[in-house]
Amino acid sequence: MRQPWLQPADTPPPRGVPDDFSPRSATRTAGGAALALALALLVMAAGRSAEILDAAYGLPVVTGTETLIAVAEAWDGAMQAIGVPAAVDAVRAILSAGRA
């Protein structure tokens, strides 16, 4: 094994070549990492519900497309109901201020 985060914490770092990781890098179980990843994607999906809906409308018409569009519409509707798109637009306007 060469992954530095799998070495004991008192292993000296490799000499000469810089590295992003070290034996001291904090680790989680794959399950914990999956939970974090899923929640991060959920937050992103909440903020991008309009883009997801646009993408769903652009899908080729095959079996299951209508279901996907229905899910995307329901998701976007739910996000609009709690005001997420408006908040996202406000943040975007602030962050893009001054852009030519």
Binding site: Q3, P4, V17, D20, F21, A26, R28, A55, R99, A100
Partner: protein, 462 residues
């Protein structure tokens, strides 16, 4: 498939879930699955090139079986890889450049075929060479099964634009099973978010705001615009490429694999040799170990060392693409390294004024070289140079926002080198649910701050 897209996010989520499930329930299927996932990733660009990639992998594996017994196989293998690379990258250029000569001696103009360049060809060819040479040198065991070699060459986080991972570094990881109890979540997440910020916010904004328009038609822009475009491109390429590398390293880490660091705050270098220890480290060390040292390195006379340096840097330039601008970029770096060596300037000065002066000289050589790197031809370089001293044309493209972005990109180099480790330690205290929400909010913030659309990564063309 580009990293900063929704399609890739879904792809990675699926790969992550299936990969770790297989590690737990069906370890033998882990490597075939990674190969399949990587081929799917590559197939988004071109299905025929997937077949070519597999052919290269099988070729390297077959040569690896023979290379220990006879050096001739190594020459054939390396020659085959370089020939493959040369066909795709240099055929059109060579035919175009040879046409005037052919016409001059009475021959008809040579054909100029349009050859599509497979994404990542320069990277996977160098990795295939690394495998064959490492086996020959005894740095890595001969792989009897082609599967490990194919996973090594095609592993999707590094496939399109590196880092160039050495066979001796990666194959032992492929042979072992990743530990599902120890996934470096905070570190991987921070690398991915940092890379996304550099690419999506800084690189895209600087590219669309000043660099692309000025390099397209420098004669229409004033001196201030041209200067900002030159500095801007230097920051853009760092943000773009190091951002990609950071994402690749972070994604691989989330799957349990380790890639070496590829950038180490390069614009704080005090000499060119220091710069090359910090910039595209996986390429510079590859060139050092597989080209510079076999040429003789610095073991001979000063003249021989200078020749080796120039050859290595010019070939490094040509590796980037078939254009005189890349040759000039490599030659400028080679010449600067030779001069630096001749003047004994490789050590850092002790006084702060001396350090500042050396930093400024090094940084501006790098900026000037990147103008060569970015310009479509040498005429554009000339137009940029003359535009810098033209005070008649008004400068109307630059904005304080763009100056701030360029300044921020440079300023990131002077943050403490261990900032990421300290941030990681703080994040390690959080529950995975909280960490996921924090990462999600940061991810969303980066996407909202970025200009519309995703520009391709600069190094995809190499």
């Amino acid at each position: 498939m580009l990293f900063p897209t929704g399609v890739f996010a879904l792809f990675f989520a699926a790969v992550f879930a299936i990969h770790w499930t297989l590690v737990r329930l069906a370890p033998a299927a882990t490597r075939p699955f990674l190969l399949l996932a990587s081929l799917c990733f590559y197939a988004f660009w071109s299905i025929p090139f997937c077949a070519a990639l597999l052919a290269v992998g099988l070729f390297a594996w077959a040569i690896g079986l023979k290379v220990r017994s006879d050096e001739g196989w190594l020459i054939a293998g390396v020659g085959g890889m370089l020939g493959w690379l040369a066909y795709f990258k240099y055929t059109g250029f060579l035919l175009r450049e040879a046409t005037p000569l052919a016409v001059a001696i009475g021959l008809p103009p040579l054909p100029a075929p349009e050859i599509l360049l497979p994404v990542g060809i320069s990277f996977y060819c160098f990795q295939a060479i690394s495998y064959m040479v490492d086996v020959r040198r005894g740095d890595v065991a001969v792989e009897r099964s082609p599967l490990n070699v194919l996973v090594y060459l095609t592993f999707f986080p590094h496939l399109a634009a590196g880092p160039i991972v050495r066979a001796a570094h990666f194959l032992p990881q492929v042979a072992a099973l990743p530990d599902r109890w120890r996934v470096p979540l905070a570190m991987g997440g921070l690398l991915i978010l940092g890379g996304l910020f550099k690419k999506m916010v800084l690189a895209n904004e600087i590219a669309t705001g000043i660099v692309d328009p000025v390099f397209r038609d420098p004669a229409s822009y004033g001196a201030l615009d041209i200067a900002l475009a030159a500095y801007g491109y230097t920051i853009q390429i760092w943000c773009d490429f190091s951002g990609y590398s950071d994402m690749a390293i972070g994604l691989a880490a989330l799957l349990g694999y380790h890639f070496p660091k590829n950038f180490d705050q390069p614009f704080r270098a005090l000499s060119l040799s220091d710069f090359w220890r910090r910039w595209h480290i996986s390429l510079s060390t590859w060139l050092r170990d597989y080209l510079y040292k076999p040429l003789g390195g610095s073991r001979g006379t000063e003249a021989r060392t200078a020749r080796n340096l120039m050859l290595t840097m010019v070939l490094g330039g040509i590796w980037h693409g078939a254009a005189w601008t890349f040759v000039a970029w490599g030659a400028l770096h080679g010449a600067a390294l030779v001069i630096e060596r001749a003047l004994g300037l490789r050590d850092s000065p002790t006084s702060w004024a001396g350090r500042l002066l050396r930093w400024a000289i090094t940084f501006h050589i790098v900026v000037a070289a990147f103008v060569l790197f970015r310009a479509p031809d040498l005429a554009t370089v000339g137009a940029m140079a003359s535009g810098l001293i033209d005070l008649e044309t008004p400068s109307e493209a630059w904005t304080w926002r763009l100056v701030a972005f360029v300044g921020l990109g440079l300023g990131l180099h002077f943050l403490p080198a261990d900032l990421r480790q300290r941030s990681e330690a703080a994040l390690a205290l959080l529950h995975p649910m909280v960490l996921g929400l924090v990462f999600g909010a940061l991810l969303l913030g980066i996407l909202l701050a970025a200009p519309e659309g995703v520009a391709p990564f600069i190094y995809f063309q190499f």
